[in-house]
Symmetry: C2
Subunit: 352 residues, 2 copies
DNA sequence: CTGAAAGCGCTTACAG
DNA sequence: CTGAAAGCGCTTACAG
């Protein structure tokens, strides 16, 4: 008779434990622990003996036990509230790629940023399961209450593309302002001076940065943005349709429209089509993000490629590198990591 | 001086433990455990005392400790190898929705189904972290070696849309054959008799079922499928372009093309456009899946809506319901759950 | 209805 | 270079 969960013979179907390995190798469990964690101060022969025993028994350290006894859980949490499937899967892929290099796993925690109990949910989660780090994307990364809850729980976190509170935590980002600036410069270089703009969701920091880059490029060319050509959108296809309708109903029409993201650009294109406005013959369209759909619509959309997966990888890297580092100070003010974007020219823009 | 990880005063910033609650409530930790797990046999007053103490201390049972001591980890794993972002996020959403109802969390484990060490990776993962259940999607759910590894680890699993080995595990699915059958019937009802077909990736069971439904509907109307109108695709946009080119290069052209998924349908549409073939005037197109892009391309694609999120919810439900159930027998041969699909008519089909 | 003891599988802090 | 002891925060199996 053994414990209720009968593990049977070590290595035979059931899982073997550190005790099984220690016994087989003829050492203490502490030595097995040292070997498994690649700690120094183990005689080479001893190390090998242990490794052989571990291999023989198919031994894998139990993550849960390591977590409870030690100071690491080997779990990273990804918090988000974003309906863009491509963005989410790219983020996940980037984080997992880096996490796996170090034996970490990813817990995904989609959150409703408008839920009244958002903070208590996060606090509760963090108390229930000790995460070694959390990655935050917009708009959660700009919510002070969220940051506060995570800080209160003492969990390290990295923010992706934050807007508010720079310096409050390590961050990864691309230069959204510069990207919008360059896109606008591109339109101007193509001969456009009458350019409309569809703003993104006001709760997303990127929306403001993109607008800022747009205005900066315009003014640099002595063009004043015309308020009637700047429409508010919410990053959704539908909001793009509506913004497009409103824009194309103005007395005079711009020759180009810069949408703060691709989905809205698709909406603008649909509204143009309904109004009998041809793209790019009558009006040029540009987007932002380079989602897969940008190659699906016709004409294909000129846009900015966000390095989402690379941002995610970098965010995980900050978390895990610090983890491995000295216990001491949290690395001398880790500077934000800035990743490059790319302007992708396709068929939705033509010379004015 | 306390332990190295100084938790400070219970409830003040740090996390409180079952001991803190027991002390404050004046009971044993076993009683606290009973209350937290909603077990019977606790006097109402005792229960209340404990609950008050727990609330006061912001007590949350440590998931890792529960896992190690008990038989549950409160962790579900989702294994997949699928590039379709919408499918993945829908799956995740469905699983998480159900999992949260019971305090469970989701670990995502994308896998390369062609990796030579796939099985050892899965075995290793399962030994490292005791999951309470695993959900498998195509093509992983049809790989015998994968099923074997999970069974060897003694972890319950549910398969989504499996093709092979029916009855080997609980499954959730929609009737893919019937869906393809109905789509084909729809085309026939619209006057089409010359119908082409783009097959899906041969490693995905659905590919064969969809083709089978197509052929069945055709034969039922005394139409024999023409081999030169059946092209092999691989579920990707590019493979759709290629299949479309090949199809439209045949001496005679079908009046409709049924693609085994939407992305290939988009590719077929692109190849048609390049060949100067109008949709739906010259040829009707249908897809399968109803990905967001189906509403982005023009004309919008008539397709089959898969209940992905509902399938995921159902899969998690099977896992968690069994979890809660009797320890004894694994529920008398849980029947597969069959979920309804929907045929979505849009603009890519017209009467022949 | 309640609790004391043992133990889950590891790591920590220490001693040698 | 190695190990014995204690403990992480819970649940299990019992006893009363």
């Amino acid at each position: 008779m053994r414990t209720p969960k009968d593990r049977g013979v070590p290595g035979a179907g059931g899982t073997s434990t550190i005790n099984d390995v220690a016994r087989l190798a003829g050492v203490s469990i502490k030595t097995v622990s040292r070997v498994m964690n690649n700690e120094p101060n183990v005689r080479p022969e001893t190390r090998q003996k242990v490794q052989e025993a571990a291999t023989l028994l198919h031994y894998r350290p139990n993550l849960l036990a390591r977590s409870l006894a030690g100071s690491r859980s080997f779990l990273i949490g990804l918090f988000y509230d974003n309906p863009n499937a491509a963005y989410i899967t790219d983020m996940q892929r980037g984080v997992i790629t880096r996490a796996r290099e170090q034996g970490y796993h990813l817990l995904i925690e989609p959150q409703d940023s408008h839920a009244p109990d958002l903070v208590s949910k996060i606090s509760s989660l963090l108390a229930t399961i000790r995460l070694d780090g959390v990655i935050l994307t917009p708009p959660l990364c700009d919510m002070a209450v969220v940051l506060h809850a995570i800080e209160a729980a003492g969990v390290p976190y990295v923010r992706v593309s934050p807007f508010l509170n720079p310096g409050r935590s390590p961050c990864v980002r691309m230069d959204e302002t510069q990207a919008a600036y360059e896109m606008t410069r591109h339109l101007i270089a193509m001969g456009h001076r009458d350019i409309g703009f569809i703003r993104g969701h006001p709760e997303h920091g990127g929306s403001h940065q993109r607008y800022e880059g747009f205005v900066r490029a315009l003014r640099e060319s002595q063009i004043e943005p015309r308020p009637e050509w700047v429409k508010q959108g919410y990053f959704s296809y539908e909001s793009g349709v509506e913004a497009g309708r409103s824009l194309f109903a103005e007395k005079t029409r711009p020759t180009a429209v810069f949408s703060s993201n691709d989905y809205m650009a698709f909406g603008v294109m649909a509204s143009a089509q309904q109004a009998g406005i041809r793209i790019p013959e009558d009006v040029s369209i540009t987007g932002f993000d380079d989602v897969p759909g940008a190659m699906l619509v016709w004409p294909h959309v000129t846009t900015i490629r966000q390095p989402v997966e690379a941002l995610a990888y970098a965010a995980a890297d900050i978390l895990l590198t610090r983890q491995e580092g000295e216990e001491g100070e949290p690395a001398p003010q880790a500077p934000d990591r800035l990743l490059p974007f790319a302007l992708i020219e396709r068929q939705s823009v033509r010379r004015a």
